[in-house]
Symmetry: none
Subunit: 412 residues, 2 copies
């Protein structure tokens, strides 16, 4: 397997406000031709650390790509310290200076003398032209290793990588293609999923599998590699199918779709409609359902009935239900769902009432107590949950549980 490292250079990338994102695009391009990114480093305008970083990376990995630090000012130190790191000198290229002078004249200006710095290139490196800026890139090869030095701005480094680096990598990279699948699981913890999944995925030693917990769902990422794109896709599908069968209904997506996309697809396929009645989630479930393009085909109406009078007025929840059981109760959730379904005349309605905190909890109904109601062709029902987390997480997890409850009613 060919391995790569990416090094982003620039002190602004070490502030609280900005970080490297060039590497995301580069990673995608590298993965597409079967090259794995093993490490990423972000280093400032600090010669010693930059030199050490490049030197170590060039020892460890087959391909090292740097971005940034090729400007004309004195804090642009990439040329100097990448050269040092690989034990090479910098040589002055008159033809780069000539080109820069022409470029500046084209903009109606004389080239500032400071830009001469940009005519230095690592001895033995190929010069990568930059039609979109003044910094040329460099490509240096030695004993099967490659160092690629790119400018920082995406509109400069992306075309440079695409036209001058990628064809070279394709030619040398082994003929390995990769296929990715993402399974998403709702209503189970990370370790419970792994207990079922590990005996299965460990039999697929050719597929890299990782399990992640993501706010309210567990994700299983599969990356298969093979000699053809088709073979990789087939192999990934085999494992995805086997995992989906073992995990059952808890798997809501086998191709990375979000819960709202899955629910939307089910509704579209069945030609059915939905409405929502929310209290503690305050519109989050409606917002998620309508995030999906084309959701107007199935989403009719939502109510955010925060105050008790709103539940009574808009959803027709009987005042006695709230008086006897409280607004946070299975009875209220069911009355909300039934009332919303009747009001909006939809096939399905889902409702939520609960305590998202930080205030409003009691001994009997602490923060995180949530009831989800459903009303549909087969009747009205509800579930009660106790969810961990702060206000933000409780609301998010409640919205996920509500959409999942709706999904499970539909696939029953």
């Amino acid at each position: 397997m060919t391995t790569a490292e990416i090094i982003a250079i620039g002190s602004e990338l070490l502030t609280p406000f900005k970080t490297d994102t060039n590497s995301l695009w580069l990673t995608e391009k590298l993965n597409d031709i079967g090259i794995e990114v093993m490490l990423k480093t972000i280093v400032g305008d600090d010669g010693g650390r930059l030199e050490e970083t490049v030197r170590d990376a060039f020892k460890r990995s087959d391909i090292v790509i740097t971005t940034g630090g090729l400007g004309p000012t004195s804090d642009d130190i990439t040329r100097e310290f990448t050269a040092k790191a690989i034990g090479r000198a910098l040589v002055y290229h008159d033809e780069i200076e000539t080109l820069l002078r022409e470029r500046f004249r084209g903009w109606g200006r004389e080239m500032p003398e400071i830009n001469k710095r940009q005519a230095y290139v690592i001895d033995g490196a190929e010069v990568l032209p930059n039609p979109h800026g003044s910094a040329v890139g460099m490509l240096f090869e030695d004993s099967g290793k490659m160092l690629v030095v790119l400018p920082g701005p995406p509109r400069e480094n992306q075309p440079m990588f695409e036209h001058h680096v990628l064809p070279r990598l394709k030619a040398t990279a082994s003929e390995v293609y990769s296929a990715r699948r993402v399974l998403k699981v709702s209503g189970m913890g990370e370790s419970a999923v792994d207990e079922i999944a590990a005996p299965i995925y460990s039999r697929y030693s050719d597929i890299a599998t990782s399990i992640l917990f993501n706010k309210s769902e567990v994700e299983i990422h599969l990356a298969a590699r093979s000699e053809t794109a088709e073979a990789a896709a087939i192999r990934a599908a085999e494992l995805a199918d086997e995992l989906a069968a073992a995990l059952g209904k808890a798997v809501f997506s086998t191709d990375g779709e979000s819960m709202e996309m899955v629910v939307g697809r089910l509704l579209t396929e069945r030609g059915e409609t939905v409405s929502t009645a929310e209290s503690c989630t305050g519109g989050l479930v409606a917002r998620r359902l309508t995030e999906v393009p084309g959701s107007s085909r199935y989403f009719v109406e939502g109510a955010v009935t925060y105050a008790n009078e709103a539940k009574i007025r808009t959803l027709g929840v009987p005042a006695e239900v709230i008086g006897t059981h409280g607004a946070v109760s299975a009875e209220c959730a069911e009355a909300m769902a039934a009332g919303m379904r009747e009001r909006a005349r939809t096939d399905h309605a889902v409702s939520i009432t609960g305590v998202a905190g930080p205030d409003g909890g009691s001994e009997e109904k602490p923060v995180g107590t949530v009831f989800i109601g459903y009303s549909g062709p087969a009747g009205t029902r509800s579930i009660g949950l106790k969810l961990p987390g702060d206000r933000y997480l409780i609301r998010w997890r409640t919205s996920q549980a509500a959409l999942d409850y709706l999904r499970r009613q539909m696939i029953k």
Copy 2:
């Protein structure tokens, strides 16, 4: 100067889809007490590279912070390889296992055996408790160097860092204090803000100022440094006040508050209530208003009237208004706001109707056409906007514009 490095651990952070963002928050906290971040590394579930990275970092820098890789599964290798990197063994802590078993029982489940892995701690390290998850953190000190091992989720590592690491660092850090202020500006572009702001902030050479555009608002970040915390705060306040005066009503926050917090504070101060009627934003405005703890004091009810019948049925929008002007019109927005205010009997009501795309646009009303309505004690009015972006951004920017419109009506 005390120097720090941050190492983010997890193979998912080396994919094209995700990268480390924990380091941004950590960097801010470190900078606040005069500690500079000199290098950041992102490493996958690869023991050799992780060990090398931690070992090198611990040689180079005073403080090394790792995030992630502390879960219970076999690809969570941070415990093992940070220990190796500093030449220490792992020791099993029975009391962590006991605590984990209790925690799981509280959630009504038995602890999976796999979670026992989370009871291993670097020999000699202090255990950092994690009230928000199952992974404890670790703090190891040796000859003036510090290694801090934190879990990956921000909701776990931020309180852990704040309560258990920051006080320790403050005690050893140099005596430079910094104060930060964040001004937020709505309804102006980045360069328009800079044209007004630059002549002012350039007179404060002791304050680092940066201007950022963030989805729907321009942020002005100020970082002042001084020998006392008070002096830094006073200096930052001077510049914040001067900028706020120059930019006027467009500044909605001078202390980093979100728009929904600002609107919530205004409503609370005035003892007034609000309701919402949304079409294309699908509940996003209600969701944002109710994200703020205590919002039940002022938020009464919201309607997500996606279908035209819902606008007629729930908001009393006359069918003729929709027939004559269309659902996406100033007339419809005003009827929605007035109808919602009457229905919920609130002091203020805000409404939204528009085309979020990708479908539904026309020549006359292309994607991004949005009308925002307001109804309040002084009457009913509306504004029309044309917003750039994809569906997600149009919805977000619309929600921001609607909350800002409500804010401007209140401070009139």
